[in-house]
Structure formats: structure tokens, C-alpha cells
Amino acid sequence: MISGQRIEEHIISREPYYRQQGQELTIALAAYQHQIPLLLKGPTGSGKSRFMQYLAWKLRRPLITVSCHDDLSTSDLVGRYLIRGGETVWLDGPLTLAVRHGGICYLDEIVEARKDTTVVIHPLADDRRELPIEKKGEILSAPPEFMLALSYNPGYQSVVKDLKPSTRQRFVALELSYPSPEIEAEIVQHEAAITREEAERLVRLAEMTRGLEDAGLQEGASTRLLIHAGILMGSGIEPRQACKVTISETLSDDHELVAAIDEMISSLY
């Protein structure tokens, strides 16, 4: 079932492609140096995970990512005893693994996890920088190399899942919203391996859909969706079709909104 994760597996050896939007790298590096945890805010697909990969590579630290969800338990984060051949073996969870080896632990979409699960990060996030492992009666002190990073999407306005101010205030917050059109086109061009012109047209479509955010659309097309559309086009799928399946149909179920986005697509392609 669960096999022990080895820290080496989390080292990023090749430079990930990351196009900076602004000062995010400088700020994150400064936060790292001063051992302040990081909070990434931004809509989905805006490059948060990619940024963490890049940061980890830059710092030459292993990156351990946990995608948070409803059923995530404290043991899933911290670790548990297992029985192997009649013996009990302690198995570090991802968080413990990162603390022990001075890695970067990235809790993606933190608001998806239950509050009673996320309390374990509190003593890690403040000055104490320690992780209590109750089962082992052990308190791990995080080495200076360790970094905690969380991400969440402020666009989903669910009050049930809002982040507590007491938690938030321990972090340096970086907002990674959609990049400017030039940068976004550059990213899409690179990631989908399409021409600059094609990428620019996709970005224009994205901007059109983002214009609908005031008119009922929860979120406009993300960079990720543009890349998907570009990839499909690159593999020979007709552009209108490619955009429809990757963009209009994924953004909404509302009949009128989908139809309006389809019209935008067909006006561009």
C-alpha cells in the first residue's frame, strides 16, 4: 500500500521552465533566507506549482508536494507505524520527510483540507519551526533549509473553506495572477510548442473569457487551459474544436455562457 518515499526522488535535477511575472523569485528567495513560510495566492493554472518547482530547483532543495483534500488526515502528513514482517516500522509522512531533510513542503490547495488536519502546520509556520510527532513522542526541529509553502485560490469564495487570519498572518503572501499578455503568450508558446502568433491568439481568447468574470463566469480561461488548447492544435485538431473542448466546455455548464464563449472562439478562428 504505502511505500516509503525517498527524499532523493524529490530532487529536481533539470531546470524547470519558469517565466517570471515580476518580483516573485526575489521575494521568495528572501523569505527562504529568513525562514518565513510562503503563501501562494492565485487562480488555478496560473503557475503556482511550476513556480515552486523552479524555486526548489534554484535552491537545490527537494520539493515535496501534497495535494490537499477532504480526507487528508494528520497521519497522512506526519507519518504512521506500519507492520512489516512482524516488525513495526515508522514511516515518515511527506511533511516529516521534508522537515527531516530540509526540503520544501508544498501544500497545494490548502483550503481543501480539514481544519483539524492543518493545525499541525502551525508550530512549523511560526518562530518555533518545529513539528511534533505525537506517536513517536518526538519533536522535530526544522533545519534552516526547510521551507513550508501553501497555495490557495482566493477566487473560490466559499466561506466554509476560508483560511483563518491567524494562519495567514504567519506567511509571506505572493499573488500569482494571470501574467501580462506578452508573458502569457511566451509561456503558452513554450509549453504547447506552437508559434508565437498562435499563442497570442489563445491569450486573446483568454482575455475575452476573463472579461466575463463580471458577467457570471466563475473564472476565465487559465494559462493551463490555453496550453491544453495549444497542444491539441499542435497535434492536428481543428482550432475551434480544440478550444471548445479545452476551454468553453470546461469553464462553465451555463448554456448561455458556453454559447457566448463558443462565439468568441469562432470569431477568432
Partner: protein, 778 residues
């Protein structure tokens, strides 16, 4: 005829319309007409009369006349739709239009039913509006007009499109017409950026016209020509050409699809132009290129010789100069007729655009400056602190000087190559001294609007914003505080926040809770049937959000063993740890445990569509909530002055949803003013006493908080904002839905501390409010 029957029907009728209002001949006619109907139909008709009569007596009398022919060809359902159509026309376009709609039953209604009138604008308005909003990056209103056209804020389109036999292609025609009107705004059809008129006339070698000739530049401009009509036609042609070229680049897919449209209109257009001379060749040339979707080229001859399209984007006056030169070359020819332009070019609404422009400029300027000043205020304050620190204490403080802050557009200084034409630029940043400040989408949109209007963003606006941010001084406009306290009988007293003293005025407002008398009428039935699709869908969605049962592990006891937990416990035990006793799985009810209170604005400004949409939304919402099971209450609020805040009870938290509640929803009607503080504080108190995991206060308004007295502007906004923060601190989640034609600058400040949603299309509210609730609570 049964006299008894006749009598009671007559009574009913006169219960609605006083006998004195109808002459005996009209009454008889009407009663005869009613007599032919079944009792059920009679009631329906009487109900409809009772709806129309209070709206407008003249409309109702006209309606009575039109009933007979309508009943002859419409069935019950169609009849109801017809009545709705009449009311729609009346509200949107007035009595005249509603009359025409009634009388011309065949053209306006029956053929719609039969599909002969092609595609109606009203049927596709929502989609087209959304499309245009995305494409243009700013909202435009859509309205029907005889010809396409735009006054730069509204785009007019024909009421229906019959060009093609299928809806898809007719929609394409609409899409093209709307996009082209937008493009004409983008190419600055109305020349809203000519700043140096004298220089322009000097360039042309014309004497500048007498200033008082006309207050509108374009009118003035064309009046200087030997043949003003010709000059105008040439200019309009050039701008249309330019707008079409712009679309070819910007929306290539649209222009490719539109070949079908251009091919279809070509024969008729050529026939229309047959007896004309001027511009015929040119239009034909352009049309032929459009039919093949060729990149547009200027027609040979005078146009190619005189035009410098390359510099049009940089300098709008160039296009006027070019038009003038063509005019000069043609003006001496015989008085040949000018070709009728193709329909898609639309009308040239110089005056309307000018009026719009003046109104909007003032508003946009204020909004932009205010919003920008709020945006930069924190940075300005910081800079000032720094400045003061470094100056030391011996220097006198100068809080009001914005002059030492420099606010600039960022793009020039960033050394970016200007690739796109001026009009495509969006201002994303602003430079405050050496700091780059991002503008949010609202500011970008305002900036774009100003650029569309003026062609640039005047430095003056930036300076004003800087000044405002540096020295926002508040002038108290209150007189000596009135005597505080002294409650009305049965009224609750609430404090009000006075931002100028940063403190409360204690027991300042009196709030009364009032009953609402349920009303009968057709509102509920009509609304339910109109929205039945949405309601059905919402019920299904809400059903899925219901509290459901689920298994939770690691319980002390339960229905089954939690294998994971057991293994862990065994392992812990082996490791010498006390094993956990939580080894069971139990089925738990996943309680949503949410209590929501809907608070709706009943101020007089909600009269008309907004009020109707609010009521319909409440109804749809209530229907959906029934399948969800969350507890909810509904109240309305209004009032006048601090001594009379009123809240109206539609449904209490534990009250079942039934006919009475529906009747109260139907009875909601516009009252007085919008003093938002007291009702928010009242329901904060009420909600705090409700036991629930999540408590929501959902507020629907149509604009600024405002009362008859001094509760206005900043004071009102700050009090409301404070009340919302108080609610939040009390553990309540306030959520504000604002219905407004345009997002106002104050919204983000007012609601910034809480969640809010801005809606500019009132018709979408019944759908969006439940959607919002779903997102908010799942």
C-alpha cells in the same frame, strides 16, 4: 345570456376598472367578449387586466380593444406570452411601441410564433451581450433600432434578422453587425480625440469655421466643405473600411464566417446602388474583397492616391485630411448621387455620440480619479511617512501636497516597444514615483473607456488622483448632532458609525419590523412558469448538495471496523505505544447546518425591472432552497431618515415556505430610501442568536446606500462598510449582491472587506443568485 353570470363578471371587471372609466359601449363589448370564454379563461383574462390596469390606464384601454382579434388566433399559453410581450414593450419602449405591438399582431407576434420573423434580437440578446463584453473588454448595451449604429455606449441593432432561413446564420449576421459597431468605436468613428482643431484646418488649407456654428466638432468640420454630405459619406466609408480591416486582424474567424453574409447581401446592395454614381465603385470593390475574405485594400483611384492608412492609427486627423482630399477631387463633378451605404455600415449618430460622450466623460473622469486615488492611497501614505521621517520634526507638516508625488503612465518608461496601435493598449500599471502599481480590472476598464473617448489618458487625471490620495480631506457636513436616544414605541435602536469622528453615534437609528400583506395576482404563477427550466435544474443541483450520509473513520464505536486504524493500532502496540481506541467506522450525517438570511433592497430606485428581477430571484431561490433544506429567512428593507428604518418580514427562519410566503414575495414593492446600516446591524443581531455552523447574511441592493437626510456619499458608505465589518466580527458571513448598470467605483471599498458580487444584467439575477449561494456554501 345568463344574466346572473353576466352580472358577476361585470362586477369583477368593475372591481378592477371603475365603471366610470369605460363607456357603456366598451363595457358591453368587453363583457360579450368575456362571455364567450370558459370561466377559467375569463378569470385569466380578468387577472391580466388587473395586471395591466395599474401599470397604465391608456395601455389597458388599448389592450381591451386588441383582445378580441388576439383571442381569435392565440391559445391560452400564447395569449399569456403576448401579454408579457406587451408589458415588455411598454416598459422598454413606451406606450406607442406597445400599441404598435398589440395592433400589429400578425407581424409582431404571430409570425414570431411561426418563425417567419427570423431571429429576434430579444431572443439572442443575452448571448450577444456576453460575446460582445468579452470581445470588447467592456460592456455595451444592446438595443433595437431601425439601422445598426452606436452612440459609443449602446449598440443599436435591427429588431430581427430575416436574411437567412436559419437561426445560426442569422445569429452570425447579428454578431458581425455588433462587432463592426464595436470596431467603429475602436477606430474612433466620432473623432473624440481631435485636440488641435486650428492645426487641422491649417493642414487642410481651409479657414477654420466660426466656433458657434456647432458645439460638436464633426458637425463643425463637415460644415466647412463645399459638399458636406459627400465629405461625410467619404469619411464614413473610410472609417468603415478601417473598422473592417481591424476586424480582419482581430477577429479573423468572424470575418471568414461572414463571407456568407456578404455574399448574401451583395446582389441587393448592387441593385440599390445602380442609379447612383459616387462611391459605388468603392463599395463594390470592398464588398468583393469581403466576399472572398481577402485582406482589405483601398479601392484604386482617388482613395489609393490620397490615403495614408499607415498613419491613421497614430493620428486620427490624418483620416480627416485624407477624406477632405478625396472630397476636393470629387466635389466639382456633377451633382451625382451618393451611393446608399450597405446596412452593415449603420447610421452615423454624431449628436447622440456627442451627448453620450459628455455625460460619460464627466462620470468616467470622476470614477477613475476616485478609484485610482483609493488604489494608490496606501503607497502615498507610506511615502509621506518616509518623507516626514527624513525631514525630522522641526519641519512643518504638509499633509495636503500632492504635488511632490509623481504619478505617470508606466508603459513609456518601461521602454517597451509599442507594437500595437494606440487603441489596443490597456493601461495595466501606473508609476508612482519609482514604484510600479498594478491597476485592477475595474481601473483598467475605466482607463480603456477614457482612452476610447479621449484617445489618451490625460495626465491631469493622474495628477488629480495623486492630489486626492495625498490629501483626502473630509469636510463634516453634519449640523450639530440631534438629540440621541428616545426610542419609538416597539422600535429597536441601533448605533451608526460616523467616520469623521471615528466613533459611533449611539442609539441613533430607529428600526421597525413590519408585516407584509400577501398579494394575489399572477406574478407568482407567471414567474414560476417563466423560470421553470432554471428551477428544475437548480432543484437537481441543490439536491446533490443536501446533507448526506458518509462514513467517517477513527471513531470510538461504530457500524464497522476501520481497517486502516486497526492496522495502525496494532503497529503502534507492537512499537510499544498505547494503541488508539478509535477503531471504528461510523455513518455520520454530514450536516450542512447553514442558516441564511436574504435581505433585499426595497428602496424606490428598485422600481421596474430591478424590483421584478429581485422578486423573481427570491422566488427561484426559495424554490431551490426547498430541495436543499438549509434554514433561511427573507426580509426587505427601506425607510426614510434615521427615525424610520423599516424591515419587512417575508419569511422567518423557521417558517415554512408556502403560499403565504409566496404572496409576500409578490407583494414586495418599492418604498423609500436605502439606509443600509440599521438593517445590517438588526439582522446581525438576529443571526447571532441562530445556532448554526455557518451563518450567511446575503444582501441584495441596486446601488449606493442613501437616505433622505445626510446619510449620503462617504458617510453612508463608511457606515455601511462598518456595519458589514461588525457582522463579520460577529461570526456572520455577509455577502453583497449589487445590481447596477455599471460597476461603481465605491463598490470595492464598500464591500471590500466582505464577499460581494456585482451584476450588471438584471435578467440574469434569478440564475446567478442561486449559483452564488451554491459556490458560497459548498
Amino acid at each position: 345570456m345568463d344574466s346572473l353570470f353576466d352580472h358577476s363578471t361585470a362586477q369583477k371587471l368593475h372591481g378592477i376598472i371603475p365603471e366610470t372609466e369605460l363607456n357603456s359601449w366598451e363595457s358591453e363589448e368587453l363583457l360579450d367578449c368575456l362571455a364567450e370564454l370558459s370561466p377559467g379563461q375569463q378569470d385569466l383574462l380578468l387577472q391580466q387586466i388587473s395586471v395591466i390596469w395599474p401599470v397604465s390606464h391608456s395601455l389597458c384601454l388599448a389592450f381591451l380593444e386588441a383582445i378580441r382579434p388576439a383571442l381569435a388566433c392565440l391559445d391560452a399559453e400564447q395569449f399569456a406570452a403576448w401579454v408579457r410581450g406587451i408589458l415588455d414593450r411598454y416598459e422598454a419602449q413606451g406606450l406607442q411601441e406597445a400599441r404598435r405591438f398589440m395592433v400589429d399582431l400578425d407581424n409582431h407576434f404571430v409570425c414570431t410564433l411561426k418563425g417567419q420573423s427570423g431571429l429576434m434580437l430579444s431572443d439572442i440578446k443575452t448571448r450577444l451581450h456576453l460575446y460582445l463584453r468579452g470581445v470588447a473588454g467592456r460592456p455595451f448595451d444592446l438595443e433595437s433600432g431601425d439601422l445598426p449604429g452606436t452612440d459609443t455606449a449602446t449598440i443599436f441593432l435591427p429588431r430581427n434578422s430575416t436574411l437567412f432561413s436559419n437561426d445560426a446564420t442569422n445569429f452570425l449576421a447579428y454578431k458581425l453587425l455588433a462587432s463592426l459597431q464595436w470596431a467603429l468605436v475602436r477606430v474612433n468613428l466620432y473623432c473624440h480625440e481631435i485636440t488641435d482643431e486650428d492645426a487641422l484646418f491649417a493642414r487642410l488649407g481651409y479657414p477654420a469655421p466660426d466656433k458657434p456654428a456647432s458645439g460638436i466638432f464633426l458637425t463643425r468640420f463637415f460644415q466647412t466643405f463645399a459638399r458636406p454630405k459627400l465629405a461625410m459619406a467619404i469619411y464614413h466609408f473610410l472609417q468603415t473600411f478601417r473598422a473592417l480591416s481591424f476586424l480582419q486582424k482581430r477577429l479573423p474567424g468572424l470575418m471568414a464566417d461572414s463571407r456568407a453574409y456578404f455574399q448574401k447581401i451583395r446582389p441587393q446592395l448592387l441593385a440599390d446602388m445602380e442609379d447612383k454614381k459616387l462611391l459605388v465603385k468603392e463599395y463594390t470593390f470592398v464588398l468583393d474583397q469581403l466576399c472572398d475574405n481577402q485582406p482589405l485594400e483601398l479601392p484604386a483611384g482617388a482613395f489609393r492616391k490620397n490615403c495614408n492608412p499607415a498613419s491613421w492609427w497614430q493620428d486620427i486627423s490624418q483620416i480627416l485630411v485624407d477624406a477632405a482630399h478625396i472630397h476636393d477631387q470629387w466635389k466639382d463633378g456633377s451633382a451625382e448621387d451618393i451611393a446608399t451605404p450597405p446596412l452593415f455600415q449603420g447610421s452615423f449618430l454624431i449628436e447622440e455620440a456627442h451627448a453620450r460622450r459628455l455625460a460619460r466623460r464627466k462620470k468616467a473622469e470622476q470614477q477613475f480619479i476616485e478609484a485610482l486615488s483609493i488604489r494608490i492611497m496606501p503607497s502615498v501614505a507610506k511615502n509621506q511617512d518616509h518623507a516626514q521621517e527624513s525631514l525630522g520634526s522641526e519641519q512643518p507638516q504638509q499633509p495636503d501636497s500632492g504635488a511632490n508625488i509623481s504619478l505617470r503612465l508606466a508603459s513609456q518608461q518601461d521602454g517597451q516597444e509599442e507594437k500595437e496601435p494606440v487603441h489596443d493598449r490597456v493601461i495595466r500599471h501606473i508609476r508612482l514615483d519609482d514604484q510600479k502599481i498594478d491597476l485592477d480590472s475595474r481601473l483598467q476598464e475605466l482607463g480603456r473607456e477614457i482612452m476610447d473617448d479621449l484617445g489618451n489618458l490625460p495626465q491631469l487625471y493622474l495628477d488629480s488622483a495623486a492630489e486626492m490620495a495625498a490629501g483626502r480631506s473630509y469636510e463634516p457636513n453634519f449640523n450639530t448632532p440631534e438629540q440621541e436616544g428616545a426610542a419609538l414605541k416597539g422600535a429597536s435602536l441601533y448605533d451608526e458609525w460616523d467616520f469623521r469622528r471615528q466613533g459611533f453615534r449611539h442609539n441613533w437609528c430607529h428600526l421597525l419590523e413590519k408585516e407584509i400583506q400577501p398579494s394575489g395576482g399572477t406574478f407568482i404563477a407567471t414567474a414560476l412558469s417563466e423560470h421553470r427550466g432554471v428551477i428544475k435544474q437548480l432543484k437537481r443541483q441543490f439536491e446533490q448538495m443536501r446533507s448526506h450520509h458518509r462514513f467517517v473513520g477513527r471513531q470510538r464505536d461504530g457500524d464497522d471496523i476501520d481497517l486502516d486504524a486497526l492496522i495502525e493500532a496494532v503497529a503502534d502496540h507492537k512499537a510499544g505505544l498505547p494503541p488508539s481506541e478509535r477503531l471504528f467506522v461510523r455513518q455520520l450525517r454530514d450536516q450542512r447546518d447553514i442558516a441564511a438570511l436574504f435581505l433585499v433592497d426595497m428602496s424606490s430606485s428598485t422600481e421596474g425591472w430591478v424590483g421584478k428581477a429581485i422578486k423573481e430571484s427570491l422566488l427561484v431561490m426559495a424554490e431551490a432552497m426547498e430541495s436543499l433544506g438549509d434554514r433561511y429567512a427573507i426580509y426587505g428593507f427601506s425607510g426614510m431618515r434615521r427615525t424610520r428604518s423599516e424591515v419587512f418580514r417575508v419569511k422567518e427562519m423557521e417558517e415554512p415556505y408556502n403560499d403565504t410566503v409566496q404572496g409576500r414575495i409578490a407583494a414586495l414593492s418599492p418604498k423609500d430610501y436605502t439606509r443600509m446600516g440599521p438593517p445590517i446591524r438588526h439582522f446581525t443581531k438576529l443571526l447571532s442568536q441562530v445556532e448554526a455552523r455557518v451563518r450567511l447574511l446575503i444582501i441584495l441592493t441596486d446601488g449606493k446606500p442613501e437616505d433622505y437626510d445626510d446619510y449620503k456619499g462617504e458617510y453612508a458608505i463608511e457606515d455601511t462598510r462598518h456595519a458589514l465589518i461588525e457582522a463579520k466580527n460577529a461570526g456572520i458571513h455577509p455577502f453583497c449582491i449589487t445590481i447596477d448598470h455599471q460597476a461603481q467605483d465605491y463598490i470595492s471599498h464598500l464591500f471590500g472587506e466582505v464577499n460581494y458580487l456585482f451584476i450588471d444584467d438584471v435578467k440574469g439575477l434569478p440564475r446567478r443568485m442561486p449559483d452564488m449561494y451554491r459556490v458560497l456554501t459548498s
